[in-house]
């Protein structure tokens, strides 16, 4: 009974901590959004918030356990947040045509070029550097 109660309490505080962490991340982003609007910066608020959080974590002002669960779950479900952007297809029926097919070809060939090029140059540079170290 006692242990079950303890478990329940831990469960509740766990959820509360998780909610607070999520709220903290949303709050930080919102603050950055206000700054971006006020100063008319060309960089999205998310990136400024990320830099700010890296600085907070690296300086030790904020121990990483205070954001780990909230940040982890946002990253785990990253794909979900892209779904609405995908729905813009509803407003672009003209893409279901030859232009759409051409666009698809550009995208597929482009992806293969960028991916193969980036991966190979990083791999080669990495191998070159590790050989020097040895």
């Amino acid at each position: 009974m006692d242990t079950k109660n303890n478990g329940n309490i831990r469960h509740v505080t766990g959820i509360a901590a998780y909610g607070a962490q999520l709220a903290g991340l949303v709050g930080l982003w919102w603050l950055c959004q206000l700054c971006v609007r006020a100063l008319d910066l060309p960089v999205p608020a998310g990136v400024i918030g990320m830099l700010a959080l890296v600085v907070l974590l690296a300086s030790g002002a904020l121990p990483s356990r205070f954001v780990r669960r909230g940040a982890g779950s946002l990253l785990d479900h990253l794909l979900l947040f892209f779904v609405p952007a995908c729905m813009t297809l509803l407003d672009h029926k003209e893409l279901l045509s030859v232009t759409g097919l051409k666009l698809l070809a550009v995208i597929v060939v482009g992806i293969l070029t960028v991916m193969a090029g980036t991966a190979l140059i990083v791999e080669l540079h990495f191998r070159g550097r590790t050989r020097h170290v040895r």
């Binding site: 999520l22 991340l25 982003w29 060309p42 960089v43 999205p44 608020a45 998310g46 990136v47 918030g49 990320m50 830099l51 959080l53 890296v54 907070l56 974590l57 690296a58 954001v67 940040a71 982890g72 946002l74 990253l75 785990d76 479900h77 990253l78 794909l79 979900l80 947040f81 892209f82 779904v83 609405p84 952007a85 995908c86 729905m87 813009t88 297809l89 509803l90 407003d91 672009h92 893409l95 051409k102 666009l103 698809l104 550009v106 995208i107 597929v108 060939v109 482009g110 992806i111 960028v114 991916m115 090029g117 980036t118 991966a119 140059i121 990083v122 791999e123 540079h125 990495f126 191998r127």
Partner: protein
């Protein structure tokens, strides 16, 4: 047909589609059932079936889109946790991002010119390798259509995450750095999610590369606009 509470309905429907997609993907493990692709297909089918418009869908969808900002902030955690790796190999990563951006812009511009696409479409597809907020800002700067840019970005993400999985089997990549950089540069958010499935290190590198590439894109936008005018 219209739904009574469109905001709540589409929000819940998207979440439900997402949960179903994750479960299906867990059992099939095929790239055809990748959660992003399957969720999008399910939601598109539902909106078309209910004759809902994009605006109606977004009454619920906007809340999810809004979370993309805090999710970007969350990338601070993996970057912080892998700071030793990043400190040691930052020249390699900068090289990869620089080369990747050159390929992304150059390749897309040449290919779309080769296929004779209209100029406004070419300008909108140009930032397709960069994560949504940067790409939309870029398209706006250079005179393309931001929402068309968003479609191209998403297509790149979905296709890139799948093509990346295949490329990983073909290319002789021994280091996590190359695998992560490839997915982060080639397929931004969806690629990062894929990289996180492969490994922690890959995920952190992909996240950082995606952000570095995005910042490069954000800085290039006004420069290109200036050059054009």
């Amino acid at each position: 047909m219209s739904v009574e509470h469109p905001g709540l309905f589409w929000f819940t429907a998207t979440l439900a589609a997402y949960v179903v997609s994750r479960i299906v993907h867990h059992y099939t493990k095929s790239f055809l059932t990748s959660p992003l692709l399957l969720t999008c297909v399910l939601c598109l089918a539902l909106t078309v079936g209910l004759h809902a418009s994009y605006r109606e869908y977004m009454r619920g969808g906007q809340w999810l889109l809004l979370l993309l900002g805090p999710a970007t902030v969350a990338f601070a955690l993996p970057i912080y946790e892998h700071r030793a790796l990043l400190r040691r190999y930052w020249p390699t990563l900068v090289l990869g991002v620089g080369f990747g951006c050159a390929l992304a812009f150059g390749g897309t511009w040449l290919l779309s010119g080769l296929l004779d696409l209209p100029r406004d479409v070419r300008l909108s597809v140009l930032p397709r390798s960069f994560t949504t907020p940067f790409a939309m800002a870029f398209a706006k700067d250079v005179g393309g259509a931001p929402d068309l840019a968003a479609v191209c970005v998403i297509a790149t993400g979905i296709l890139g995450a799948s093509l990346g999985g295949m490329l990983l089997k073909v290319l002789p990549l021994r280091c996590a750095l190359a695998r992560g950089a490839m997915l982060g540069m080639g397929a931004h958010g969806a690629g990062v999610a894929r990289a996180r499935e492969i490994g922690d290190e890959e995920g952190a590198v992909a996240g950082l590369v995606m952000i570095l590439a995005g910042v490069t894109c954000a800085l290039l936008g006004p420069a290109v606009a200036l050059f054009e005018s």
